[in-house]
Subunit: 404 residues, 2 copies
């Protein structure tokens, strides 16, 4: 396989998967092939897609085979951005029967055009001075419509519990009661105060919103106001908006990608874009330093294999592209920390909302329970052992269970 | 129902649809309700979503009911843009089990913030001087990798057949052999030449690509170079990119929305966003003058009810928002024109690729066959009658059939 080709894998079904792969390879590139005169073929050959493989998985009742097909595309077919890539490999194909986009493997030459995370795992650890442990993030209980003072109270309570990051609600767009830049300044001040008390810094991730062509300017104003981190609804704004923020040297803060709207793409077995690609590879390549995704626990959980592959896609070595922090989210309480550690290892962010605010002792106690749980698993102790010296953790385990 | 609320309908399943609607109404707005103190409830009441209705459609084997739920959201919860809207009504909800976003009804006050089409149906008809008939559009046979001269030859052949518009391939991003502005200038010149010959103007829709924050500037350069129309992969770049182009007074050309990637959202019965909303309401509100969507004919057709509802959403009266031209696409040949006319009426664009280039007499003859077919149905004649005076149409009907 040439260095200059992009390998794209689809899950689909057909009478003959190999023929389907060949049809996609032609249909998504030069349009037609066998009926072209030889001179035209010679001219278009450099742009022609190629069927690479077809892997049957099961025979369906209608006689078709369901399986994976891989097609390679010349990098010259694309401009070096995700709209071109997705349109070129899945634009009209997405509307052509049962087909799901599941994986993309890039040649280094193509990856070189993408920013990837500006900070990534190491950069964020270094900002926080937090090595060799999972980080801890907490979410406001709610943001919409709350008076500014309530948000300040919430921020302080979470920070005092020892979390590493606090993030806005992703639906926090209409923020006239606590405007974006004012929040950034106010929470920065509170963070300095709580750090003086706890000895731990805390970063605030403010939700970056606004007209797409003004996001760069708004992000720069946020940085000038002292922003630590920006939350961004990548799928609502498009991957290219993330790419351009990540690429901008003046936007020198980590970007946290929220998965809002991802469920419009990934859950169907037959259609859409698989999570390891959508929230893993593409988010990372486009420049997300941290990526939230549905955890494999809780009520409506992501399939565990998918969640693990997603995290792997965020962290596996890629030439010139830093790893992104996986943030498995939803349904997280302190008793789950050993499971999280077993599944996602050191390089993850433990992210809780209800698991912090729902603590009987309040958000500060809720955060302390998580801090104790994370310290325990990192040191190879059980939560039961740790609960002996953390009443907050003991109470959390009593409420939510867990804690091997 | 207050004027200031947005009505959102979802297709979902639950033990109790009414309870599900109530849970969505709270969960997507203030987060929690019954456990809030009365003073907090009073404060957050203006931001609270409300369950409006629950309509059962069928009882499932697992005892759950599948059906439609409608929730109303206060407009104050959103900034006036589609990323805020979609994140706020479907962001995390999209990842919460089987749920599909199917319809949005806006109050006039919220719609007023959106540009809608700058030209719309009447504006485009007026540019073309083409009243009281469906328009005709033709697609390049392929674009990728072709020498500029081949594209010029293709453009001229299509234009000489009497089409109203010619559009780029949507995958045409890497265009170094026939750069964007050069194409616009060259095809403008050819269009003037063919108009002198045929008496009919023809508009060229050039594919607008590039970094999302530079699209406005690039579109303006296109207009200065004489662009007639811009093709735009809206879903690849995000609805807000369309909104900002449509809103920009300097981008004074119609914008044609391509549905590339739409199949990642709409085909599942359980997940995603329904086509009448995705390619209908949202494309129109964000400012598409013309909207391509999969026709209900051909191999992989859109469900006919969905296609008709989509076209209706593009054209039904909305305060302050012009109607957009429906462009049902794929599988279109001259014999289908009576069916197209019956289904979509006068205000549509007949759009063909293979149905023009595959004509035994070539693209010019292919276009002439369509022109004859459109003239016939508009005048209330059968295609068989029209074929008596159009050898191109007679040949097309022989090849593709149809033609009541």
């Amino acid at each position: 396989m040439s260095e200059q080709r992009i390998l794209v894998t689809y899950l689909t079904q057909a009478k003959d998967l190999s023929k389907k792969a060949a049809a996609v390879a032609v249909g998504m590139t030069v349009g037609s092939w066998t009926d072209l005169p030889a001179a035209k073929q010679a001219e278009l050959q450099p742009y022609l897609g190629e069927a690479v493989s077809a892997t049957p998985l099961e025979t369906l009742a209608n006689g078709e085979t369901r399986g994976l097909i891989t097609v390679s595309y010349p990098t010259r077919n694309f401009t070096q951005d995700i709209p071109s890539l997705l349109t070129g490999i899945f634009g009209k194909l997405s509307m052509d029967g049962k087909i799901k986009l599941v994986d993309i493997v890039f040649p280094d030459s193509f990856l070189a055009a993408f920013p990837g995370p500006k900070y990534g795992i190491e950069g964020l650890r270094s900002r926080l001075g937090a090595q060799n442990r999972p980080l801890l993030m907490s979410i406001f209980k709610s943001c919409l419509g709350l008076p500014f003072d309530d948000l300040k109270t919430q921020f302080r309570a979470q920070a005092l519990g020892g979390v590493d990051l606090v993030k806005d609600d992703e639906i926090f767009f209409a923020d006239d009661r606590a405007p974006f830049l004012d929040r950034i300044k106010a929470f920065k001040q509170i963070a300095l105060e709580t750090e003086a008390e706890t000895g731990k810094p805390v970063l605030y991730a403010a939700n970056l919103t606004g007209p797409v062509h003004e996001l760069g300017e708004k992000a720069k104003r946020a940085v000038e106001a002292g922003a630590d981190c920006l939350l961004f609804n990548v799928l609502a704004f498009g991957f290219d908006a993330l790419h351009r923020l990540a690429q901008d040297p003046d936007v020198h803060v980590p970007i946290m990608a929220h998965p809002a709207l991802a469920g419009a793409y990934y859950p169907s077995p037959d259609y859409g874009i698989a999570t390891p690609l959508l929230l893993g590879t593409l988010m990372r390549v486009a420049g997300a330093d941290l990526v939230l995704f549905p955890s494999p626990y809780g009520n409506v959980a992501l399939d565990k294999m998918e969640a693990l592959q997603l995290a792997k896609n965020l962290t596996t070595p890629l030439v010139g592209i830093r790893p992104s922090f996986p943030v498995p989210s939803a349904g997280i309480h302190p008793g789950l920390v050993p499971q999280l550690f077993e599944d996602f290892g050191l390089d993850q962010i433990v992210n809780a909302g209800g698991g912090i605010h729902g603590h009987p002792g309040g958000a500060t106690a809720g955060a302390k329970a998580f801090v104790a749980a994370i310290e325990a698993v990192t040191a190879g102790r059980t939560l039961q052992e740790a609960a002996a010296s953390s009443s907050e953790l003991a109470i959390a385990l009593e409420k939510w269970g867990g804690g091997r």
